[in-house]
Amino acid sequence: MTRFVTRREFLNLVGAVGGSSAALRAGSALGLLPVTKTAKALDLFALGTNSKKVAILGGGLAGLTVAYELGKRGYECTILEASHRCGGRVFTVRNGDLIDEIGNRHYCEFDDEPHMYFNGGAARIPSFHNNLLAYCKELDVELEVFVGENNNAYFQDDAVLGGKPVRIKDYKTNVRGFLGEMLAKSMSEQEMNEPFTELEAENLLSIIHSFGDLREGGEYTGSSRSGYETGGFTTHGVQKDIIEFRDLLKSRLGGRIMTASEGEQGPPLLQAKDGMDNIIAGFLRVVGQEVKYRAMVSAINVTNDGVEISYDQDGVRHSLNVDYCFNCIPTHLITGLDHNFPADYVKAMKYVRRGDAYKAAFQAKERFWEKEDIYGGITRMNNRSSSIWYPSGGIHKDKGVILAAYNFQGGLYHTNKTQEERIESHIKDGEKVHPNYRSLVEKPVTIAWHRMNHMLGCAARWNRSRSGWTAEEQLMFDTLQKPVNGRHYVIGDQITVHVAWMESAIQSAHWAMEDLDKRVRAELA
């Protein structure tokens, strides 16, 4: 039997947890956002007539950052990249590109046009990721707005209204109306005697009213915020019916809908025009000559005065001796190389687990979403495909590429299926939102990061418990962050506490180069 909770009981429940003022404060949990002040100008010593050799293992964003910055200061850099491409998890697929998922390699067959691309890895840049943005500016990488939040996109859950897709604006407006009404009523009844002055209470009430779009007396009777049923321009608008709050409460997705566009995923977001890998191309315009492709590192031997590296290219084993080495190869792959790292360093690498994010995309034969007033943004579904992303660019062109699935936490579900099964699952899920989906989409690509060659994961997982890092985990992290012998640095977002962001990969590289810089200055002083 379902037991119903009255509004009053609900408020008592909230009150029991922390009292009303604490409950009001609960919304500021977003304080988890990391702080990036203005981009840091790296003050690194320029070598001048001195010469130093550097090996960069992996042409990911972190590695390229090192090549770019140290190159400016006269270091002689070599980038060894196992794959046929640089960029690692910054991966844009276009016509003809190989998706190197081992066991399921496939080529992208999208039409060959600038707007027909898919960002299989990094796709969004928060406007406060300053170091990344500074590089985009410095390297002439054109940026544009990424539309993440779109109130016209849908929310779909089989448990709600018989599975009928609901516009996000309808969802949010009704939830806010209900919550606002509840708050407004409780305020006037309880007089809110304690923590507020009269003026504060008045202002709070006004916030609550506008939050919920309430009538006089704190009633929620529907709102034009989610648009009209009909009319509104040349004729007067007819208001939509209220969606019963209890209907919306049938979905477990509620929290996700209300906070999806907050914090690091909140507007304004940016993206590189015509594909995120234009950031990589920007770096390669400067350091491209230093990259050896299909050069797979096999051994790392740290000595007292340098690092000896072996790598395989064209079936031949090569060696490279350098003064310093910066390594952005994922830790779970470094453990499979021959090395002479200290035991505690290896222990830390063995501890880190790998994530299994999964993405898929379709080419759409026509831009059907635009006919439903959708330009960019994200539809959220309570199924395994989870999301449909509509492209921010290419507006009103004939075709477009849409993200058909994005499963960040539970990607193994699709990863463990065949290509055909994956695609069928995304079509079935998408059909619930767009009835003709099956006939509107074609040319799928799927990107299972757990199996992408030379990656085998989407991001490092350092802490095992949701409640945060243990002291032991912090110790392992600190160990792995420090260089071995002052010679070998692990870099990449994997060696930050904020994994899976490009900004983190860059900041890890900066951390390592500043550490190196101290040593070099001391040595040359």
Binding site: C86, R94, S298, K350
Partner: protein
């Protein structure tokens, strides 16, 4: 060369080719095994055993049970291999030197030795295996991997497939390993074999 911004500026060549020699991404440099991906050492593996396992994975005799997490990771890697590819891979794997894996499990090797007396009938007293009996070498293999296999056989997650006669034999043998401690003991004894 002038390159349009949307062209594949960072690809080494157009329409990338690929081959089936991708095993070292998971199995480590020169197939020495990688704990980080739980993929065992292949270097030094007998060609007949390597072939049978690849064929078993391909045929769905191994790596199909839902609880066999690591086997499930390996199976798609073999699913699309042709006979020619398998032959090529066997030749490639044969070019890697046998190097005994790092020891990570230390338990009661003395008790392990007693347990191993039975195992030796098939796997040989020196752990070198016996082709006639279809039993592979065990010495020098990654110890964490041996543990996974013994647990998987014991649970019936490996060796239970229709027609997997070799796997079934081994499944039966794990019943004498009554608990995790016994498994660790016998593996730590295997760790003493073939170290030079």
């Amino acid at each position: 060369m002038f390159i349009l911004p949307w062209m594949k500026v960072n690809a080494a060549e157009e329409n990338e080719s690929y081959d089936d020699r991708y095993c070292t991404t998971c199995h480590g440099a020169d197939g020495r095994g990688n704990y980080g991906v739980q993929a065992p050492r292949l270097a030094g593996m007998e060609p007949w055993y390597l072939q049978r396992q690849l064929e078993n994975f391909r045929a769905g005799l191994r790596g199909v049970h839902l609880s066999d997490i690591e086997g499930i990771a390996m199976r798609p890697m073999a699913a699309k291999l042709t006979d020619e590819s398998i032959a090529d891979i066997i030749e490639w794997v044969g070019s890697w030197d046998y190097v005994p894996a790092e020891i990570t499990i230390e338990a009661d090797a003395g008790r392990g030795a007693q347990l191993f007396a039975q195992c030796a009938t098939c796997h040989g007293a020196d752990g070198l295996g016996n082709e006639t009996l279809g039993a592979p070498a065990l010495r020098g293999q990654n110890d964490w991997y041996l543990v996974t296999q013994l647990k998987n056989f014991k649970q019936g997650w490996r060796g239970n497939g229709d027609g997997d006669t070799f796997g079934q034999q081994m499944m039966v043998m794990t019943q004498m390993l009554t608990d995790d401690a016994a498994i660790n003991n016998v593996v730590s004894y295997i760790n003493t074999l073939g170290r030079d």
